[in-house]
Amino acid sequence: MLDHDKLQNAENIWLGVAVVMCVLLFTGVVASFLSGTFPLVSGGHASGIASTRVDPKNLAVTPFAKPGLRQEGTENELFMVAKVFSFDPAFVRVPAGVSINMHITSADVMHGFYIQGSNINLQIVPGQVTTLRYTFKYPGTYNVICNEYCGIGHHNMVTRFVVTPPTK
């Protein structure tokens, strides 16, 4: 038989432990935002660029008219369009060690944008532009997978990023 007072005591301690644990977890994640491993706060992963909305039926008047990687000033801008059941451009070559601003949108329904083996894993919403800044560290070939259901050919919606060794 367990008695009331002992139990209550133990339970209060446990409640304290639970609260402290949750606070620590939260602090850990926020530290990760601030330190930049996951820069949610400063225009990185998933932050989007506020007010960047496009008409998916009229991408021709936007920078998405010609998808691909290009230099604008000192910045490397990559524009990609997801549409059933492929990505445009179908194949992307990017240099390692260089910061790249990726902008991705959809021409039709929801899609996903997941670079296999990385933590780039985004929701692509028609009418909205998903933006993030990323620097590939290691050269190699990466599969890019649509991981949001978009229809009967969804499982074949895969493309590749080839990350080339730094040029210098």
């Binding site: 367990l2 339970e11 994640v29 992963h45 532009v129």
Partner: protein
């Protein structure tokens, strides 16, 4: 233990309505529960095919299967809708309606209650037409601008709206009871049920708004476009707290009935109330943790939702403590001792009890995985990978489903007066379900970490990009076979019971009301926590504060896009 609990003593004395065979709620609850299990049966039969898909085995080209479902994705839509939406809601509408009414010893307006049941079932039948004819293979999240048949949205909306009527009736009866008993503290089962229904009513508003304002007019062609981001945000307003709507009815059994099934007492009645009050307050304003990777949503709001998500873990950790303590109390009363030796003294031969203990164990892993998902940083690694179905099959698919299966093993005999058919087979089925799901979870979580996508017919891919995942693929395939065996065994006992002769009025199968070690008599906390309406109001305000700054800019800057009806 042979002494009667205070509840039971009252039961034997009270009016015939709420405590005897003729109690009209019995038949209604039976209809809800059985309808729910029929949905589960159909839904679960598709599961093993999906597990085999994740073992790189594609059976979807077999002619027999082709005649029933057109594609992997039609099957997946049925699996998600029937299991996660239909089964859960019907079971809960029976369980969390019957128990509080019986607890309060009242009979609600039965005409209204039956009308709700009929309308809810009609909702399912309406939605079933496009689902079965491949006109709404949009998965159970139905993100626009994928556009299913309007019947799908109308049926689903009708079904969900009916759950609000059930909840409304419970809350209404509780208000009436409170007015008649102003000095008394609400009995515990009722307290837990009312808090859960209040939470669900607030939670469902997102989905109701999405269906009525956005999806139905759009699918009928009354408006030309839809904003997918607003729709998705409203969906997750409901879509996360719905998991607490699935979980808390199981907690009601873990707190309120399992202690007695174990031969012990509930650890603390007031702390149980505290846990449910916390759930009422913070279950809803957390939905953005499903949208960490969505564009054009403020990072600060995402972070606030993340904090609140971590806070919802606290009442679940309290539950883990309390429930384990009450099981220990039971085992010690049955003669167990030692630090862990008492575990052997639990009633392991009782399939209903065993199912629910296994469900709890599964939830330890499920809950830990949930904390991983809640962290924005880790979410970016596992989001939309096979990790996610791995996670929710040990939460809703086991913590909830296996608990409901266990509850059914005493509840159905209690409601129908039929004897449980093949209790040994029932015991086998719950162990097989548990191990099947544990193996499934290993396979799927592992595949997810290797980057294998969820919701993908990977067994029919044109290129092989998952060469590194053969081992977890085999594990997932094995689990599918184990789960098929488990389901067949369980449904044999369930349908065997239902098809057998009625042998009594069911009252010989007692409701296992539990006593508490710390009761609510003289508890200040229990008295303060009676203010459920105030807590409810606070929950509304909190949702306004956490969703207002998200939804208002979205609505002001809405961007409508056309729908697509022919992509599957």
């Amino acid at each position: 233990m042979t002494t009667l609990t205070p509840q039971e003593r009252q039961d034997t004395l009270s009016t015939p309505t709420a405590s005897t065979a003729g109690y009209p709620m019995k038949r209604l609850a039976q209809f809800y529960i059985v309808t729910g299990f029929i949905a589960l049966f159909v839904g679960v039969m598709i599961g093993p095919l999906q597990a085999l898909n994740y073992a790189d085995v594609n059976l979807y080209n077999l002619p027999i299967l082709r005649n029933i479902i057109k594609s992997y994705y039609q099957g997946l839509t049925l699996h998600g809708v029937l299991n996660a939406l239909v089964f859960t809601q019907f079971f809960i509408s029976g369980w969390m309606f019957y128990m509080p009414m019986r607890d309060l010893k009242v009979t609600p307006n039965m005409k209204f209650a039956w009308g709700t049941y009929i309308a809810m079932t009609l909702g399912v039948l309406i939605a079933a037409v496009p689902l079965l004819t491949n006109k709404a293979s949009v998965l159970y999240t139905f993100y626009p601008p994928l556009q299913g048949s309007p019947l799908f949205y109308i049926g689903a909306a009708l079904m969900v709206a009916c759950s609000l009527l059930v909840g409304g009736q419970v809350v209404f009866e509780w208000f009436k009871w409170k007015r008649a008993h102003p000095k008394q503290i609400t009995p515990l089962i009722t307290y837990m049920s009312v808090a859960t229904w209040m939470m669900w009513i607030l939670a469902s508003l997102g989905l109701v708004a999405e269906a009525l304002i956005l999806l139905i007019p759009w699918s009928l062609g009354l408006v030309s476009g839809i904003d997918p981001l607003i729709a998705r945000t409203l969906f997750w307003w409901t879509g996360h707290p719905i998991v607490y709507f699935w979980l808390l009815p199981a907690y009601i059994s873990w707190y309120g009935f399992m202690p007695r099934q174990a031969g012990g007492r509930l650890a603390s009645d007031p702390l149980t109330r505290l846990a449910f009050a916390m759930f009422l307050l913070v279950s809803v304003p957390v939905g953005l943790h499903h949208q960490y990777s969505d564009p054009n949503i403020s990072g600060n709001m995402k972070t606030i939702h993340m904090l609140l998500t971590f806070m919802v873990a606290v009442p679940s950790l309290l539950t883990a403590f309390s429930v384990t303590a009450s099981l220990e109390d039971g085992a010690r009363q049955r003669g167990g001792g030692g630090l862990v030796g008492w575990i052997r003294y639990l009633p392991w031969k009782n399939a209903s009890f065993t199912a629910q203990v296994l469900a709890m164990i599964s939830f330890i892993f499920g809950g830990a995985g949930g904390i991983v998902n809640a962290s924005a940083v880790l979410d970016s690694v596992v989001r939309n990978t096979a990790w996610i179905p791995g996670h929710f099959h040990i939460t809703v698919g086991t913590a909830t489903t296996l608990s409901f299966m266990g509850i059914a093993l005493w509840f159905i005999p209690h409601l129908t007066g039929k004897k449980l058919f093949a209790p040994k087979l029932a015991l086998f089925s719950v162990w097989a379900w548990f191990w099947g799901m544990m193996i499934f979870a290993v396979g799927m979580h592992w595949q997810g970490l290797l980057g294998v996508s969820r919701r993908a017919q990977i067994s029919a891919m044109a290129q092989n990009i998952y060469d590194n995942a053969h081992v977890p693929q085999v594990i997932t395939g094995i689990s599918g076979v184990v789960l098929l065996v488990a389901s067949l065994a369980f449904f044999t006992t369930l349908f065997g019971t239902l098809l057998s002769k009625t042998v009594s009025d069911g009252e010989d199968v007692k409701i296992p009301w539990s006593e508490a070690i710390s009761t609510h008599e003289d508890s200040k906390m229990a008295r303060r926590l009676e203010a459920l309406p105030a807590l409810w109001l606070a929950a509304f305000v909190l949702v306004g504060l956490t969703y207002g700054p998200v939804l208002i800019p979205m609505i002001l800057g809405r961007n409508l896009v056309p729908g697509y009806t022919n992509l599957w």
